[in-house]
Amino acid sequence: MTKIETGTLGETAYTTQLDNGLTVIVVQKPGFTKKAGLLATRYGSVDMTFQSGGQVVTTPAGVAHFLEHKMFDMPDGRNVLQQFGQLGASPNAYTSNSLTAYHFETTNALTDCLTLLLNYVYTPFYTPESVEKEQGIISQELRMYHDTPQMRLFDELLALLYTKHPVRVPIGGTQESITAITADMLYQCYHTFYVPSNMVLTVVGDVTTDEVESLAQQYSPTEIAPVPTRDLAAGEPDTAGGDNITVAMDVPMPLFGIGVKLHQPTSVNPLSWQIQTKIALEVLSGTSSPLYSRLYADGLIDGSFGFDPFQFTQGCCMLFMGQSRDPLAVQNALFAEARRLVAEGIPAPLFQRVKRACWGGKLRSLDNPMSIARQVASCYLGGSDYFTLPTRFDEATMAGALSILAFLTPERTAMVQIRQKQGG
């Protein structure tokens, strides 16, 4: 494997690409008892329409997530989750807008766990009966999300902000869409997206590169298949799909979410963009910003206020969320502060301080093997190299942050409020 230069991150990392196209990344953490393994594919909820065998295929919402649930079934009837449990490991999986990942954490059974992980993810097995049974479980999961205000807020906000991009569809699909999912459909999507060249394996912990590489070679398919293509953002305007909606739920404390559509130039590295956006957001409304203090003192926001850059396949935006008695006042204050900063510039000490704090925050996230594995994989599938972080920080400039704040205009912004249902 090739050693990766990690600069001031102070990590020891290696990478290689196998003959079948699978990328393997190993981050060595000497002294750690915890080891994390994560196998991810560039297939998320947004991948509903794609090219397969020269044809355009359209699938119902929620297939990527459904597939994730069904990956744990094996033809010989053995229960993968239970096998991990027997190894004392904790397995899990998640589906985001842009990727699906399967992972485990172990302290003493890396070989067995890694073998099992590769084995089950590369063994698709679906039957009409098992699909029907899973519809019941997923239906429960969707209901639970439906009752969770933060999840509803996130879904409603993306649905309002975007008019065409499939990021507007909930990750798990809907009660209706999941009933249309069949075993054949799962096989087709599996064979399109679970090809090694569309995937990455990340292993983090006190491990040797030779062992990881040889297991990956031994237990991943030998066939070479093309990476699927898709055009998701076609026809999506720069402006927000709507400006403001209110959803009634049983919430004693009203919640709000604000989304701002960004336009990421294709020439800019995705990781650079993420860092720049994070710094811009901290300068605008982070805890040490003048705006935060003012809104907090006025009782317009509380400690629950937060924000994040949100990047997904072929799109990105920034999201603000929190609780407020007057979300519109918060939104207007954000617009006004962004305008002021764009006009007057960012004070140099504020920019430097925020940049240093963001860097410290990244360093602090490097103590958890699973968190490292997730970040490394998500960066890789998003088109950048996580270990270039020090360089990306060096590249972050005040002008870059200002260009991002300039997107904060009413035309690009949508807001969702969740308020107490009458009589609830």
Binding site: T33, Q86, S90, M144, M253, G286, S293, Y296, A297, C358
Partner: protein, 417 residues
């Protein structure tokens, strides 16, 4: 691990290691869980975080933290059995990665925030108390937003109406809304001089350096008679009580509460722990394999042992139409444990899940802080390694014997109208 008593009631637990980039530091006051104090315990750390004499505003505090490479300093309140802890916790990048004395700066900032708050007319700023009280009330109301944890809190309140355990971690809205600046200031001074204080540090700096800096910081505090906190221990339930709440939800929540009869530190503690894991701890448990996987009755179903209180709670999210069958199944799976209807393999799996969870806990500064604070509160000193060794001696017979002594005290259901 090195534990030192700085003063008669101030203890420091230090783990010196260069394994992590992040250092963890916390200072918590240990109080008994009481209805009249709970909301103040929740409010105080938030008011303290608003500013100290050196950094009197929130912005000045945040700037200082940004300068320390984005360190986090957060006020917190934790309910552990019937002990109620409040204080400050910090996460920061270790000195080796910044080339600056982060640890000493952080100890000074933390001590200053706890001991020398920003003052106005000799007490807390009224504006800080007012706004944090409003925030606390909002946070108490918002608990209802998360139905899974809200149903868990309802189960505590309904099952233990005459025990301090019924008091929620943040206190009640009624108690919070009548806290005045003067009353909070009075309570702050009283709490500082009458509470046991537990300090925890994990990072590169040596224990004697940490102890010395805290020693200096706490030197001028006059300690009075310390208020002892202990858990009221209810060994068993005479009858099972059933409770139902109606809420505007689409997925029902089920909850069960057993009295284990096993207090924290009791020799049977690990056998009770194994029983809870066999029943509902992870993917090899009865609840997961039968209620979720085999019968598809729910999206989640799990159980855990609250070791400070000596109870086991099981919780699940189920379809409205399946409430009765899920409840019956969850209870019959518990009977299977009591009857010893689990294989040697199940038993070994449960132990393996526990050992792995403990090793993982020992592998992060935050996990270590959580564990050692839990031990400190109950005045126990065994380590996770000790637990691992003692676990070898726990037999199937031990588990059945201990589990058969558990009594189901309450069942709970949150459903739609």
């Amino acid at each position: 691990m090195l534990k030192t008593a700085l003063l008669p009631n101030v203890n420091v637990t230090c783990i010196t290691t260069d394994q992590y980039k992040t250092n963890a530091l916390s200072v918590y006051l240990v109080r008994p869980l009481l209805e009249e104090e709970a909301a103040m315990n929740a409010l105080l750390p938030q008011v303290l975080c608003r500013g100290n004499v050196q950094y009197p505003t929130m912005q000045a505090m945040s700037e200082a933290l940004d300068d320390l490479y984005g360190s986090m300093l957060l006020g917190g309140t934790r309910k552990r059995g019937e002990h109620h802890l409040f204080g400050l916790g910090a996460n920061f990048v270790g000195d080796a990665f910044t080339g600056t004395p982060q640890t000493v700066s952080m100890i000074q900032l933390m001590a200053a925030t706890l001991l020398t708050p920003a003052l106005q007319d000799g007490m807390f700023h009224t504006a800080y108390v007012d706004s944090e009280r409003e925030n606390l009330i909002a946070q108490i109301r918002a608990l209802k937003n998360d139905k899974a944890s809200y149903s868990s809190e309802r189960l505590d309140a309904l099952a233990c109406p005459h025990e301090p355990f019924a008091v929620p971690n943040l206190g009640s809205e009624e108690q919070a809304s009548c806290i005045t600046t003067a009353a909070l200031w009075q309570y702050y001074k009283q709490a500082l001089s009458t509470s046991r204080i537990e300090i925890f540090y994990c990072g590169q700096t040596k224990a004697d350096v940490i102890a010395q800096h805290f020693q200096d910081a706490f030197a001028h505090i006059t300690m009075g008679q310390v208020v002892v906190s202990d858990s009221q221990f209810v060994a068993s339930a005479d009858t099972t009580r059933d409770f139902t709440d109606c809420e505007d939800i689409t997925q029902a929540k089920l909850g069960f509460l057993w009295r284990t009869g096993v207090p924290a530190g009791h020799p049977d503690f690990l056998a009770a722990y194994v029983a809870s894991v066999l029943y509902g701890g992870g993917t090899t448990s009865k609840l997961f394999t039968h209620v979720r996987e085999r019968l598809s009755l729910c999206y989640y179903a799990s159980a855990y042992l609250e070791r400070h209180k000596g109870i086991i709670k099981a919780q699940s999210g189920v379809d409205m139409g399946n409430i009765d069958v899920a409840r019956k199944e969850m209870l019959s799976q518990w009977e299977e444990i009591v009857l010893g209807h689990f294989t040697d393999e199940d038993f070994a799996d449960a132990k393996s899940v526990m050992r792995n969870a403990w090793r993982s806990k020992a592998d992060s500064p935050g996990g270590l802080e959580d564990f050692w604070q839990g031990q400190a509160v109950a005045q126990l000193c065994s380590s996770l390694d000790d637990w691992s060794k003692q676990l070898n001696d726990v037999t199937k017979e031990d588990v059945c014997r201990v589990a058969s002594g558990f009594t189901l005290d309450a069942t709970y259901c949150m459903r739609a109208q």
